[in-house]
Amino acid sequence: MSEFLQQVVAGLASGSIYALLALGIVIIYRSTGVVNFAQGEMATFTTFVAWTLVDHGVGYWGAFGLTLVIAFVGGIALERIVVRPVEGRPPINGVILTIGLFILLGGLSNWIWKAEVRSFPPSRPFPTSAWDLGGVAVSEQDAGILAVTLVLMTLLWLLFRYTKLGLALRASALNPVASRLVGIRVGWMLGLGWGLAAAIGAVAGLFTAAASPPLDPNMMRPVLIYAFAAAVIGGLESPVGAVVGGLVIGVVLNLISTYDTHLHLDLDRVRLPIALALILIVLLARPTGLFGRQVLRRV
């Protein structure tokens, strides 16, 4: 039983990473109507930036914070410069654009940082010890990831629900025209959405690097798929759904890996197809995701 709980907790930790990336995807989709295929590569890029900062002597947590700021500003710039033109157009434009961004950022990362093996963070930010909670061994790293994620989610929730800015952000996504009539600078709000998503993605990237060293340029590729799965399962428009979806996927995949030894199906090799199957199953039952809004169309 404790083995089970242990795996659940570990699954929640990896699920937090998927949830964070998925949340970024949902925020971007809700505000600008674009599915950001480059979300993972943006996270990778910013993680490499963090590595560079640490390499130049900045402390890990200082670099962490600075990277978030850089990601935030970068996200705003991306939206204003590159994404703005495609926002009103049919979805295929956004798909190709963000795919282009995906490839561009991948190429840039490779060019700037080469493909050398690096360990990041150089010294583990979370101690490697584990706590014993009622017989369940929880690594401090997992606990750290869960805690930071929880704090972030809470802060975001407070922002969106209770602040004027959060209300303006939500309004801009829901009804840009009415928002402008009320005096909101919708353009900036959309940029802010991307900035937030980029910063959240940066956290996901930093955690991924910490959880599975060494730092590898392809590290976010599978994470992106799990994040898409989470976003889609939760419903592309639901932040809550994205988070729940991410955690569920993390736990399910972890449990499958653990118990596969009994089943001999070699399921560990097919984690991605399983995620895909999960997406299909959920979408067949609820085409707009578990928490998605059913769109009623007036004929």
Binding site: K164, L167, A168, R170, A171, L174, N175, V177, A178, S179, R180, L181, V182, G183, I184, R185, V186
Partner: protein, 234 residues
């Protein structure tokens, strides 16, 4: 003193299609003005040109100064636009809609809220209700309330009576009349319901094919032969 709102030879287009071919009208401080006309006459486009939702050439002045051409900035000049289809945030609550109405005027929120609720008491009772679940008349009232939250000098209303039952429409126009007479709020109303519009305004313009065809005191226009035949049905 310069009029509150002046439009001079305003042209507006949707892509290659020109919708306004030189509209000239004014609204004075505290005036209630109506804009009438059939479908496609350019009434809605006129309001959208004022609030910057559609690109327009020509002069648009507010209080003598050129009006900015972006909706966010028009709102800052004290002009509140209640668009066709109400323009409320259906997924948000009544209270959130009103908070958004006060976006530009943070400090006056509570004072404005009380004033607005005095006109629409039910808003406070139903503050947590999702706006999309309100009835048509309630949504229209919410839209107007939201516009009032910013303490505007001029209210632009696009077809407030559309799709509403007569009794609801009468109530809305009664409230508008109150606002205009007692608080000096200037109102520019676009309406297909000519009878009602003429009764609630002091001056009116009749638009046809993107131009002003007739203008004058509402009482006179109500007696005008062609207006009666075309818009009043007798």
């Amino acid at each position: 003193m310069a009029p509150l709102l002046e439009l001079e030879e305003v042209h507006a287009r949707y892509g290659p299609l020109e919708a306004l071919h030189g509209v000239t009208l004014t609204v004075g401080e505290g005036e209630a003005v109506a804009v009438l006309g059939g479908n496609g006459a350019g009434k809605t486009t006129t309001l959208r040109a004022i609030s910057g939702l559609v690109a327009a050439s020509g002069e648009i002045r507010c209080g003598g100064e050129r009006l900015a051409r972006a909706p966010e900035r028009v709102a800052r000049s004290g002009i509140a636009h209640v668009p066709e289809g109400r323009g409320i945030f259906e997924e948000l609550t009544v209270h959130e809609n009103l908070r958004l109405g006060a976006y530009l005027d943070r400090r006056g929120f509570f004072e404005n809220y009380e004033r607005v609720c005095a006109h629409f008491p039910w808003l406070d009772r139903r503050r947590a209700q999702q706006a999309g679940t309100l009835s048509g008349g309630e949504q229209q009232m919410l839209a107007i309330a939201r516009a009032l939250m910013s303490r505007p000098r001029l209210l632009l209303l696009d077809e407030p009576s559309l799709g509403l039952a007569p009794i609801v429409v009468r109530e809305i126009f009664r409230i508008l009349g109150d606002l205009n007479e007692k608080e000096g709020l200037a109102v520019l109303v676009v309406e297909q319901n000519a009878k009602l519009a003429l009764r609630s305004s002091s001056r009116a313009y009749v638009l046809e094919v993107g131009r002003v065809a007739l203008e004058g005191p509402s009482s006179e226009l109500a007696e005008n032969e062609s207006v009666r035949k075309a818009y009043l049905g007798y």
